[in-house]
Symmetry: C2
Subunit: 107 residues, 2 copies
DNA sequence: CACATCCATAACTCAATGGTTATGAGAATT
DNA sequence: AATTCTCATAACCATTGAGTTATGGATGTG
């Protein structure tokens, strides 16, 4: 059950939140503490942002002892790609086999 | 000069504004009056939303007599597509020749 | 057991924003 | 010239939301 474009756009609209997601995408899994350092905001603020991203399906969390590890779920961007394809028809052809791609990724 | 992903995400985060953009994408050019009918909000609200979309480069306006016609500028979505490609590397290949595509569209 | 650490939630504050009504500028109509 | 129509802007209001500090639960550590 993919998240709605609305949830995705809202989750990614905030620059701080987008930066967190980018860090998870580019640098891989991180703990809350790791993400807080360098974020320029307090740990509770980071936790709240992560909750929003999780709600949108953009991140997954994994509890290990007293720390929580978050990682990006890039597949959650699919509705965004799809929406873009619908709005800009000249790009649509490129996404034709998106379904296939996602299916192949499931293994 | 393409708009920043930040401007785009913020502009598209609001559902009403996204609906306006979708109407322009799918049904083509519209006047403010046309867009207001069926939007469920007042004309000034529509005008403000259009101003935000215009600021983000997502729409263009054309004055004709006393009415203003707006149309979607789908190319403005390019930074979004690009950003998605950077965050989800397994999609990147599809956007490799985005530059070429946009160049070809310029004629 | 006592204590420290990691994280999430609660309670609050303040700024941003999406909506409204009122108004005015500019263009068509009579 | 007076009026009507279309749209944008101003002024205002209510809500949302991103940040803060305080706190507590759960898990390690001495």
């Amino acid at each position: 059950m993919p998240a709605s474009p609305d949830l995705l756009f809202r989750a990614l609209a905030d620059p701080t939140r987008r930066t967190l997601f980018e860090r998870l995408c580019l640098d891989g899994e991180q703990t809350v503490g790791g993400l807080t350092s360098g974020a320029g905001i307090s740990q509770p603020a980071v936790s709240k942002h992560l909750a929003v991203l999780k709600q949108a399906g953009l991140v997954l969390d994994r509890h290990e002892g007293r720390q929580t590890h978050y990682r990006a779920q890039q597949r959650a961007l699919a509705p965004l790609v799809d929406w873009t394809g619908r709005m800009a028809p000249f790009w649509e052809a490129r996404f034709d086999d998106l379904e296939d791609l996602l299916k192949r990724m499931d293994q």
